[in-house]
């Protein structure tokens, strides 16, 4: 979709041909493309538990279940929201530039026979739904250890309606204004990463710092969990990026290879920066760096060659490491660095797409200045919109139901106070 859409909007028939490939003459879905899209959807779903572990390992033991739950509950509420209305608002018909229509509420009208390109539209819908799930879960990394579970749950549902669904429509929906402008976002650099990153920043400005931050110790309680999570994220990201070709074709393969390469380079970039700064590369650095590389290659995965992916990923590692270090000086408490990694990394990736894209799109290195400009517009538009709406939403929630747990509950830990459980009894 992400690849087909720019074309489809302008010339659907051509796009169809391109996507279908020369040999597919059937009228039903292409089994190979469908297989890949289903596998990719499953992979992206797995990223959510992966993210939960990635985040969970970084918090203190008393908040481990609470942190996991912030991701898991997104699988609960957003998967349902998507079926009920989210898909329709993002990709429904009667297209406008800002939001989709209401004709696809409850996915109505989508039967197993309905096709989009070479795959059943339902497959496209569920694949997109996985993106809608993971995006708010990403935000949770900034809010951990102090946000109320109930308020957070309400927040992400509203955020889906107010921020995610519109943004997805802008960038990927038929008639979306950024799509029409030609913004390149292969797999969600702006829709997913910029939007979650700046929303995280907006939310913590309302939510405030964790009690005792930064004077007390905030030491990751289980980095093996974080590394496992990072491994699952890498694995799942193949679905995220290469699945966004919406077919098992050469573009998917290119996206796959560039994704793998950028993740590796991101890890090396971050570790190099740590080696220089602290003298020792760390395991948390490896995990963070590979995620930074993955974030950065996301918008350009299908447009950037593996060689350039080394540059995009490697710089992502360096840049995000710097961004994360800045936090302390700026004095906000983005607990698990959602802004530093996803906001900054996503923005870098969107710009990098405008710098290094050479396959099926132009960029600075091919002399296409306009594309770079469009990329800037895309990032700024998504960032401003997400920031403002999220900030207002959080203020309203905080003033009404309250976003933050009591100081006592924060001290005891949210596992016990919010969920009545304990993470470990070893």
């Amino acid at each position: 979709m992400r690849f087909a859409c720019p074309f489809r909007a302008a010339a659907p028939a051509l796009a169809l041909l391109l996507v279908v490939g020369p040999a597919w003459a059937g009228t039903g879905p292409n089994p190979g493309d469908t297989a890949w899209l289903l596998a990719s959807s499953a992979l992206v779903l797995l990223m959510v538990p992966g993210l939960a572990l990635f985040y969970g390992g970084m918090v203190r033991a008393k908040n481990i279940l609470s942190t996991l739950m912030l991701s898991f509950i997104a699988m609960g509420v957003i998967a349902v929201q998507w079926v009920v209305a989210g898909y329709s608002l993002s990709f429904g018909g009667s297209p406008g530039p800002w939001i989709g229509g209401l004709d696809r509420l409850f996915l109505s009208g989508l039967t197993p026979e309905t096709l989009s390109g070479t795959v059943p539209t339902l497959a496209f819908a569920v694949f997109q739904g996985m993106f809608a799930i993971i995006t708010p879960a990403l935000i949770s990394g900034a809010l951990v250890e102090r946000v109320k579970f109930g308020a957070y749950t309400l927040f992400i549902v509203l955020w889906a309606f107010l921020v995610y669904d519109p943004l997805a429509h802008w960038v990927w929906g038929e008639g979306g204004w950024l799509l029409r402008m030609g913004a390149l976002d292969f797999a969600g650099g702006t829709v997913v990463h910029v939007s979650s990153g700046v929303s995280a920043l907006a939310a913590i400005l309302v939510l405030g710092k964790r009690r005792g931050y930064p004077t007390e110790r905030f030491i990751p309680h289980n980095l093996t969990m974080t590394l496992l999570g990072a491994g699952l994220l890498w694995f799942g990201w193949f679905g995220f990026n290469a699945g966004s070709a919406l077919a098992a074709n050469g573009t998917a393969v290119l996206a796959f290879v560039s994704t793998n390469t950028a993740a590796a380079a991101g890890m090396l970039g971050w570790l190099a920066a740590e080696k220089v700064r602290f003298g020792r590369p760390s395991a948390l650095g490896a995990a963070s760096g590979l995620v930074a590389g993955l974030v950065a290659i996301t918008p350009g995965a299908g447009f950037i060659t593996p060689g350039w992916a080394i540059v995009v990923g490697g710089l992502a590692g360096l840049i995000c490491f710097r961004a994360v270090c800045l936090k302390e000086r700026l004095g906000y408490d983005d607990a698990l660095d959602v802004f530093g990694v996803h906001g900054v990394g996503g923005a870098w990736g969107a710009l990098a797409t405008g710098i290094f894209a050479t396959v099926g799109a132009g960029s600075l290195i091919t002399g296409d200045l306009r594309q770079f400009g469009v990329q800037v517009v895309g990032v700024v538009a998504a960032a401003v919109y997400a920031f403002v709406v999220t900030w207002v939403l959080c203020r309203v929630l905080d003033a009404t139901i309250g976003l933050r747990v009591s100081p006592e509950d924060e001290l005891v830990g949210l596992d016990q106070t919010a969920h009545g459980e304990v993470g470990y009894s070893l």
């Binding site: 005792g212 007390e216 110790r217 001290l411 005891v412 016990q416 106070t417 009545g420 459980e421 304990v422």
Partner: protein, 112 residues
């Protein structure tokens, strides 16, 4: 010499350590323990079942000091561990007959 044992709230550990250092104490030992007392526990539920948890995580600090330092050490702990809320914990003082530094074989107050 006296052995001072203090059971405190875990999040006060760093403050207590600093207070003891200021009081001139150069070594101490900390242990994770579970306390039962007036501070009431909480309930947990797992699927259908509900459990009451009476034991609360605490930290126990053990520090051996020369007799004359004991009052100051007790006072330092009291001050730095106090939150004023139930469950702040206890300090116990016991007599120590001998102390040895393993590394050097020094005996008595020398060894502390």
């Amino acid at each position: 010499m006296k052995k001072i044992e203090a059971i405190i709230k875990p999040f006060r550990l760093d403050d207590v350590k600093d207070a003891l250092k200021e009081a001139g104490i150069q070594g101490m030992t900390a242990i994770e323990v579970k306390g039962f007392g007036r501070q009431k526990g909480h309930t947990e539920h797992y699927r259908g079942a509900e459990y009451t948890v009476d034991f609360i995580p605490k930290v126990k600090i053990e520090v051996v000091v020369p007799d004359e330092l004991a009052p100051a050490a007790v006072e330092a702990i009291e001050r730095s561990a106090r939150t004023g809320k139930i469950g702040d914990g206890k300090i116990f003082v016991l007599a120590v007959e001998e102390a040895v530094r393993i590394r050097t074989g020094e005996r008595g107050e020398e060894a502390l």
